[in-house]
């Protein structure tokens, strides 16, 4: 009974969504406020019914109702409870429904939060949001319905189960975070379009969506970081970023979104860059839809699978419609959104923000081009020319380093203009520190991008620390506070500014972590119990391989000891595993091997162990050990990025005017 309720809730949601458009449309024409209230309620019901359908599917996944094709595909009796829930976004139709569910929550929040506010913009915000909802409702109703019954003449006793790679706690959080980011940009986009339609060139929409955008941007950032973390912990190649199309799909809107969160500050404070901000939010939202298209259409594996999927052409059409309508509207309204003010000086904070924006967009274009080039080459010439990590690194590392440099420069520039004296005063110490760092690293034989990245990192870190120190000194002098109190109050009183600095410091630490990649070392061998082998400055000894049957897999567990090569001092023990999922399946082809890593992490380096294979007859284990310097700094930087952003967006106490 229940699955039918889910399917019909989706049908009803579609119907109520269409009705929302009509009613809001009538309100816009007739200005009868009862129609607006009805439209608001229709929007809430549309969202509520989509959420009900999502709840129903989740319930079926937990209950293991294999009468539903989706449930039979992505869960089994052995799938642990948590991963039965995460199976909601493991497959195509489920993830489409999940997209819709998150959008529905956002739409409800937007409607309820602005129930009696922004009455000129909100009808259009509801209208645009509903159109996006209707697209996903059409998808889940007609193209990829998660409530399709199983296509079998017999009763299915057990399902296929979830891909072992997805059975990881990080993977349970990563997709929701990413989706919260992707989907969240719908609301700022809807406000932007509403402002364009209503010719509202004030910064009202910017002010309304600022916090919303920061939250969304943060979710997307956390999603990307968790994706990298998951890749590092689970995929067993020793890295966290491979310029994979799916990774790029989330990185592109993050880049333009980052440019947007910076440039709205200029519009808010200086009433400038109005058209630019429109372009950025349109591009960011389009890239969010495009990212979903890339990951879900199958276009990256082949252009042919894209046309065969049915989903791909519809998504691509939607992307084009968004772009044509949005940019057409922007072109039509361009005169209304021209800025009254112009940049006064090359050495102003406004210019710094604008440079950083341009670099973000260039970086995004480079990633975009590298991502879609294989598809274009296959479509045009019939041969797929793959663009690998070396291309992305060659193009993007220099651009990334320019961005890092600008991260340090921006905060030291004053609004409107920075005098020569101030420039010299503000930049002398950071430049000296950067040169000293560079010199020391050069003497330590560090070269190339790592040398530049670490020197720039020291430059930016110095600018941030100086900013903090000056702020603290000003407070201790003025209010006679202790250094600690001054530090806390400084942040409390200027959350946006110092939260931003903490975020920047996080980025600096992440760059420190990235630069460690140049010094990675790895080695692979087959080992019998008691054998020792060398990797870098370490010796690895296999003590034994034990076996264990667990509820959803069979595991070979290695006991490895790691010693210092020089003095034989014990460093750590590692226990990587070789697992066989679906090991009870009589068909050997259905059994899935999986390497579960073990990592010993310090601030200086990670010792990363992978159990690549096992020969049970000869009792030989095959291992790959990697020494990855500075990786921890990537994750520490990520924590700071999150903390800084939360501080920056935390609401300040309301002032009485």
């Amino acid at each position: 009974m229940i699955p039918l309720t889910g399917a019909i809730s989706l049908n009803l949601s579609l119907a109520f969504g269409i009705l929302t458009l009509f009613v809001i449309g009538f309100y816009i024409r007739n200005d009868d406020f009862r129609l607006y209230r009805t439209g608001q309620r229709l929007s809430l019901v549309t969202s509520g019914l989509s959420l009900l359908a999502t709840g129903v599917l989740t319930n079926e996944l937990i209950a293991g109702n294999f009468d539903l094709d989706y449930v039979a595909h992505y869960t089994s009796n052995e799938t642990p409870f948590m991963y039965k829930i995460t199976a909601l976004w493991a497959g195509q139709s489920g993830s489409m429904l999940f997209w819709l569910a998150i959008l529905s929550v956002y739409a409800m929040v937007a409607v309820l939060q602005n129930k009696d506010k922004h009455l000129s913009l909100m009808p259009w915000v509801i209208f645009v949001t509903t159109i996006v909802q209707l697209f996903f409702l059409a998808m889940t109703n007609f193209v990829t319905n998660p409530f399709e019954p199983t296509n079998a003449d017999f009763v299915i006793m057990n399902g296929n189960g979830l891909n072992p790679l997805l059975q990881n706690p990080t993977m349970a959080i990563h997709p929701p975070m990413l989706y919260l980011g992707y989907v969240g940009f719908t609301i700022p986009f809807a406000f932007a379009l509403a402002a364009l339609i209503k010719r509202d060139a004030s910064s009202l929409w910017i002010k309304t969506v600022r916090r919303w955008t920061l939250v969304t941007w943060l979710f997307l950032g956390i999603g990307i970081i968790l994706g990298g973390w998951w890749a590092y912990l689970e995929l067993g190649w020793g890295g966290y970023w491979a310029w994979d199309p799916v990774e790029n799909a989330s990185f592109m809107p993050w880049l333009t979104g980052t440019a947007f969160v910076h440039s709205i500050i200029i519009q808010e404070k200086k009433n400038m860059l109005k058209i630019w901000n429109m372009i950025l939010i349109i591009v960011t939202f389009t890239l969010c839809i495009f990212g979903t298209f890339l990951t879900r259409s199958g276009v990256m594996s082949s252009v042919h699978s894209f046309t065969a999927s049915g989903l791909g052409p519809l998504f691509l059409s939607f992307v084009f419609i968004i772009m044509i309508v949005s940019f057409g509207l922007l072109y039509y309204r361009r005169a209304d959104f021209k800025s009254e003010k112009r940049l006064e000086s090359f050495t102003s904070r406004e210019s710094g923000f604008l440079f950083n924006n341009v670099v973000f967009v260039v970086l995004c274009f480079a990633v975009f081009w590298g991502t879609i080039f294989p598809v274009i080459s296959e479509a045009v010439r019939g041969t797929k020319i793959t663009v690998g990590a070396p291309f992305f690194n060659q193009i993007n590392i220099p651009i990334g380093l320019i961005l890092l440099f600008l991260t340090g420069v921006g905060p030291l520039l004053a609004w409107r203009n920075t005098s020569k004296e101030s420039l010299i005063k503000n930049f002398t110490s950071p430049i000296i520190v950067a040169l000293l760092t560079g010199g020391v690293l050069f003497a330590l034989n560090v070269r190339g991008n790592s040398l530049v990245a670490l020197s720039l990192a020291s430059f930016v870190a110095t600018t941030i620390l100086i900013e903090f120190w000056r702020g603290i000194s000003a407070r201790t002098g003025k209010f006679e506070e202790s250094v600690f109190t001054a530090f806390i109050r400084l942040i409390q009183k200027n959350r946006s500014r110092y939260g931003g600095y903490i975020t920047h410091l996080g980025i600096v630490l992440m760059f420190v972590g990235f630069s460690g990649h140049a010094f990675d070392i790895e080695n692979e061998w087959g080992l019998k119990a008691g054998n020792r082998e060398t990797v870098g400055n370490y010796e690895v000894e296999l003590l034994k391989i034990s076996q264990e049957e667990r509820p959803n897999h069979y595991a070979y567990i290695a006991d490895l000891n790691v010693y210092q090569k020089e003095d034989g001092k014990f460093v750590t023990d590692l226990h990587p595993e070789k697992r066989i999922y679906f090991h009870r399946d009589p068909n050997p082809d259905k059994r899935q091997p999986h390497s579960e890593l073990d990592i010993y992490s310090t601030l200086v380096r990670d010792i990363y162990s992978i159990f690549t294979g096992v020969d049970p007859e000869n009792n030989v284990g095959y291992f790959k050990i990697m020494i990855n310097p500075l990786v921890q700094w990537v994750w520490i930087g990520s924590y700071l990025l999150v903390i800084g952003t939360v501080i920056a967006m935390w609401p300040a106490k309301r002032r009485i005017v």
């Binding site: 309720t5 406020f33 209230r37 309620r41 506010k117 609004w415």
Partner: protein, 92 residues
Amino acid sequence: MTWNDTILIFIIFVASAWYVIQPLMKETVLRPADEDVSQALLRQKMMLMDQIKELEMDFEVGNMDEKDYKEQRNALKRDISSLLERMKSKGK
């Protein structure tokens, strides 16, 4: 489709429809006051005040010299004065 299905779906539909048509059953619905021109001006004033605060902060921490600070502060004060004039004329 069983009777149970039909009843459940009927309840969902009727409850949704009932909730949605409530405003239409009333003769009129009060429209809350939206942001008018004076509120928009007030918002601009707050923004300019924030800019002065930030400018003072930049000067206090030594990010800008006194000449730049005075020049920019005066410019912002002029902006606020003209805004206050506009607010005054709207108030009349």
